[in-house]
Amino acid sequence: MRSKFKQLGLGLALAAFAGVGQLALAAGKPDPLPIEEIGRIESLPASYPEDWVLVDEAAFFSMYGGKVIIMDIGEKEHPKRMKGTMSKAMLGSFTQSPKRGEYYIIESFHERGSRGKKFDVLVIYNKQTLEVQKEIMWPTDRLQSLPEKFSMAVSKDERFLYVANFNPAASFSVVDLETREIVDTIGTPGCVLTYPTGKRSVTSICSNGGLLTTVLDKNGKLKSRKRIKPFFDTDNTPIFERPVIVDGKAYFPSFKGLMHVVDLSGSVAKYRGSWDMLSDEQKAGNWRPGGLGLAGRDDKGHYYVIMHPDGAEGTQTHGGPEVWVYDLKKKKRIRTIAAPRWAVSIGVTRGKTPKLIVTNGEMNLDIFDATSGEFIQTVSDFGNITPLLIHKSY
């Protein structure tokens, strides 16, 4: 049926065009606009400009429609900001391999929307065409939660992808990015998430306040496990599970502003102690870190974190009115950036003139010069409902 219509349409379109030359001639006007090509699709550069970011739109009000939106947050003209989109259904997770030029999304579906068999799929995208390169049907339940940067990670050499599972037994699966096959699924009893460690290890954070490092062999299979003893109390001195990694060290602030340092540069994680993020005065005001994607870093290795005053039990997830910037070597705050429309999550772009991106209380993006703290613009109206994580581009 369809091909029949195509033939009909083609014939008629040709007939329509046949009249063009005559009309132009008769009127003495410039030639009419040419008939244009149909089917053109845009593509993206192999290396994205520094101001481009990938926004994890969790779509909390309609989770079927989650997506990753590629945005130029430095662009002043709204229509030029959005560069492309990938689907990310039911709180899907996103990560990327800069070297391979690939994006990884693991997402979930039921056969019929909210009904029928549920299954998870890992999808590999080409970053220039945003075309699906491969879909890998998942053998278990991936970890499905509010967006977490470390529910997926790539190994240092970008050979392996680690994906957290939770059903509610916790494990992670290892995907060989060369062969695009799952090579192992490894249990992490009582521990979750996949912090990339050393060359081929994965560290997870545990219900006892310690860590678990899973060491892989060169093929990505389980080689050994090592538990790191508890360094915090999950009830009374909890830490955020969302570290920022700088020079091989992972920085985990506690709810109350004690910064724990974990060395992930070797084959097994090592706890490196803690330091206080707050002065006595700040403590008196109950200043605390908090938010969802609450922290980030720039290429200088400076640490950015959302802070709020009057902290109390329950405020840890609610964001704050300021972003504080720390020199991690000096263990010292070096500046503060006011977030007048509130901050729930943040991101920092790469390069010498980094921008700070703040998901504000209205779920729009406020853009600041990360060095001067100067407000640049608000980016909104790009299909954003709950843009809860901001990823750097490469």
Binding site: G113, P168, I205, H308
Partner: protein
């Protein structure tokens, strides 16, 4: 400041925060199971009617500051066609979940509240309530409301959250 509340100007819901930190449930494993506990229920039901003084609570179960919601983060089923302890038509109640410990202001006791999600259909989309008191990150999954607890139901699609009394806290 609860970020999801500020999403839609449409929402006139004023979500007050309550501090309800006394009474901490200890000793549970990685996951508290809320559902399918049929053998448990006759015990509870038998005890209640025989009590000389009727147990009491007060407050508005459609309001985010209702006492049972101290650790909630989601849409309140009370506004979605369900109630604070039942699911809307056409959904199912999750069997595994997270718990909070909330203080009933009337009797001063701390109760273990199971926040069983209702699953299926799609997100309810109203009466969003984010309290998060004693909510913990994913590494304490028994107390983490960031996880999609429709995990394990026939439908993994989150619709709304209930708040069900499942016991008294141990360390009262």
């Amino acid at each position: 400041m609860k970020f999801l509340d500020r999403l839609f100007e449409k929402s006139a819901r004023n979500v007050a925060q309550r501090s309800s930190r006394r009474g901490l449930l200890k000793g549970l494993g990685a996951v508290l199971v809320g559902g399918a506990s049929v053998p448990l229920l006759p015990v509870a039901r038998a005890a209640a009617p025989a009590a000389p003084e009727h147990p009491v609570e007060e407050g508005d179960p459609a309001s985010c500051d209702y006492w049972r919601y101290c650790a909630v983060d989601g849409f309140l089923c009370q506004c979605c066609g369900g109630t604070y302890n039942s699911c809307p038509p056409g959904t199912e109640m999750s069997t595994i979940t997270w718990v909070g410990t909330c203080r009933n202001p009337v009797d001063g006791r701390n109760y273990v509240i199971s926040y069983n999600d209702c699953c299926g259909v799609g997100q309810c989309g109203t009466c969003l309530c984010q309290r998060d008191e004693r909510d913990r990150p994913l590494y304490r999954s028994d107390k983490s409301n960031d996880i999609n607890w429709c995990l394990g139901s026939k439908s993994y699609v989150y619709n709304c959250s209930t708040a069900i009394v499942v016991g008294l806290a141990f360390d009262q």
